[in-house]
Symmetry: C2
Subunit: 469 residues, 2 copies
């Protein structure tokens, strides 16, 4: 039994009284003074209990007259609590895809809120945000932040990018609600309805969803699991269609963790100039590098046509909802779209994060994270190595997942549903394609620490695949 606070005991006693009609609807409750005396409670405790009942609609406060039992019972039903895992109801493909998107964005094979302690980096981050909250004063809360975001945070991000070979000004950055928001603003800024956008295939499903919702057209460019987008194939595409923008992830592209070589980056930018493309760089995985952190494509951008998008979600916390975008020649329009779609971001969160970066805690966190991710990737590759049958597995140097190719004929959409019934979450291949390719492939994550339960989950998955040895 959980321990109850004294206001909770009083709240329960009053609620019982109302249910048993000790006080009827519209009747006055005992006065605060009476409740204090009879229950040996302070005035603050009694008021706290009464306020809680007021919020629930059980009682009403009438100025200078006291608290009365409400005339109507509250009309809201409590929702049934929902388990994290439930079998999907594939009414339409799009609904199934939404279901998968929601579950898989956590990158957890075995979703569960592990008890345990927070990592030290997150403890430091939370303390910094807490300090930022306590430093609010006066009427601070009455002001919206400027659309570009907090200057101190943009300064820290500019320093962070400078260390990766791209010296940038804080004013070249706009803070967003995560990378998805950054990608949305980028595509909305540089494309109009009907425009064609080139994407990696396999590639990030979030981008394909944005393209769909903005009424754009997609063309899939084959991508290798080692070196990313095939630049020859891109050139072929550019010759055949008028392409407006190209979305790429040079650093550890999802799903396979490909790393684009410098030569490909240079060819990509040359093509972008020839064909007048906007290049949208999804840089979200860069800081999960297991070895050296690659320079961004943006560092080579001499022509103001690379829009860099990123966030803290993969390398720090998915709950911050802080990302950033550097919009090149489209930056002014992106700032305006940020204002129009959302006005501004939370200053107290940004200030805390800026302090966390300024005092070196972020650097220390990244150092620990990369060591852990290397261990977790190695363990996953070792476990997959023991699977029977001929499967192909990517060997990423960064990112949070590997791409597994099962023998052709295997169906990972069916596998997703079967695995889910056993509490195991994979991301099926077709999600990474606008045209339903990669049916025999899946993404498996190493974002979470391996423990016996997760290793068993992986074994159950192997059994479900029924691979012939």
């Amino acid at each position: 039994m959980t321990q109850e606070f004294r206001y909770q005991q009083l709240e329960a006693w009053l609620l019982q009284g109302i249910e048993e009609q000790r006080w009827r609807q519209g009747e006055r409750l005992p006065s605060i003074r009476t409740l204090c005396r009879e229950h040996k409670l302070s005035k603050a405790t009694v008021q706290h209990a009464l306020q809680r009942l007021e919020v629930q609609g059980q009682v009403e406060a009438r100025p200078k007259a006291g608290y009365f039992v409400s005339l109507q019972a509250p009309a809201v039903n409590r929702p049934v609590s929902r388990a994290r895992i439930e079998a999907p109801r594939p009414v339409t493909v799009s609904e199934l895809l939404q279901d998968i998107m929601r579950r898989s964005a956590a990158f957890d094979l075995l979703p569960q809120h592990s008890p345990g302690d927070l990592p030290p980096g997150i403890v430091a981050l939370n303390r910094a945000i807490g300090r930022s909250l306590r430093r609010q004063s006066g009427q601070d809360f009455q002001y919206y932040d400027e659309p570009a975001g907090n200057v101190a945070l943009r300064e820290q991000l500019a320093l962070h990018m400078a260390r990766r070979g791209w010296p940038c000004e804080p004013d070249a950055l706009c803070i967003t609600s995560g990378c998805q928001h950054a990608l949305f603003l980028a595509l909305m800024a540089c494309c109009t309805r009907g425009d064609v956008v080139a994407v990696e295939s396999p590639g990030f499903y979030g981008v394909m969803q944005i393209i769909e919702q903005l009424g754009l057209q997609v063309v899939e460019v084959p991508a290798s699991l080692e070196t990313g987008m095939d630049i020859d194939a891109l050139e072929d595409v550019l010759q055949r269609w008028k392409v407006r923008a190209c979305v790429v992830s040079p650093a550890f592209a999802t799903p396979g963790g490909a790393l684009m070589p410098e030569s490909s980056k240079r060819r990509l930018l040359a093509l972008a100039e020839s064909y007048d493309l906007a290049v949208i760089e999804d840089d979200i995985y860069a800081d999960t590098a297991l070895g050296a952190v690659p320079d961004p494509l943006k560092a080579l951008d001499r022509d103001q046509r690379v829009i860099l998008c990123s966030s803290f979600s993969k390398c720090l916390s998915r709950d911050l909802r802080i990302g950033w975008v550097s919009g090149a020649r489209w930056h002014a329009r992106i700032l305006h779209l940020k204002l129009v779609t959302q006005l501004s971001s939370s200053q107290f969160v940004q200030r805390g994060l800026a302090e966390f970066m300024a005092d070196g805690s972020f650097t220390a966190h990244l150092r620990r994270l990369r060591t852990e991710l290397r261990t977790q990737r190695d363990r996953l590759l070792q476990l997959l190595n023991d699977w029977p049958g001929s499967i192909r597995v990517s060997k990423p140097q960064g990112g949070l997942a590997v791409w597994v190719e099962l023998p052709s004929g295997e169906d990972t959409l069916a596998l997703y549903a079967k695995a889910l019934q056993q509490q195991v979450v994979i991301t099926p291949g077709p999600l990474f394609s606008a045209s339903g390719q990669f049916r025999n492939c899946m993404r498996i994550s190493f974002a979470h620490p391996w423990n016996p339960l997760r290793e068993q989950a992986l074994s159950r998955l192997a059994a479900l695949c029924a691979l012939s040895p």
Copy 2:
């Protein structure tokens, strides 16, 4: 002079040494042990200083070798700090409008971060968010929230709406990044490019900006300062054009604070059924009611065609960035658009807010806020009463501002620029119209407490108007 922490003193000493080339580029700094001994500091303090220099790019850590002076000086320039008030640079009308939008959203005649104490409601809110941060455990930070938002917060919001006459289920609500985001999702969900949207005139500029960015067309329906949108005029509009959606603020519409009577609400909904309209209800000012809080239009919606949008920005804090939307027949599409545009919202902020609501602190805060707003409105009306000349002033029963009509011929766009040079911010009338109407009108806010400085600002404004007595 501000007091420095010991790590800051060491940081400054090391930085000076680097600048004076006591240690040259690429050279090793004294060891941590040496620095501890010579400066009589703890190891943690020395490490803190070194980490800060590492973040700034001044030094580099090499595993097991120590800290070295970086080979390159950091490439980032610190931005020049910008004053809050500066004369606008009217390159294009749209840029001027953006400038005004940014400044006026704070609703402050005399923008300044007042020192002073936070109001008790904000202190309680910040404590609740702090507790929510400290309660994070395990891998909580690794998971995205579901797109609809935290269930506990939606339960509290459902109770809050139920008390206003609209019993709703938590699943009918989707949490957003403020009301602007809610309005954006609503319009994106129920309209496609080229569709016509009816708005109040004068009406909220944020809505007109969304309409522009989504490639929709606007038709302005005259609105009275007392009773809101003119329903006869709306009917006339509906007969002449195919209108897809209508955006209204029945509760204390900005700029004048109009309150739509029940009879108009019923007629509006009847028209919406006849002409198959989506009705987007901007409910953001409801909780600033100086008297009774009106029921939402949504409470009368029998046909699932009213999309309710609101947020905590006007009645609690502009820095939370938490709003909500109830999307009626478009709700599933809105949830999907939330996912596609932003993925999810911060759980720790939502949990803290839910607790703040559940323990009655929000109700207590609203009670105090309304009393203060009444005082502030009364004082503004009293001060405006002393202005010379014939001006017309709205008498709002809620909201945060009054609408002032100067004699025709006055130009509030010019007044805006002149006032800004004297640190005074008004919102000029043309911002509330897509066609530049209301040139002789302006919105003046009573959101902030009056003090001698703000009262002097209002006097300066009166002088700038140069009204003849």
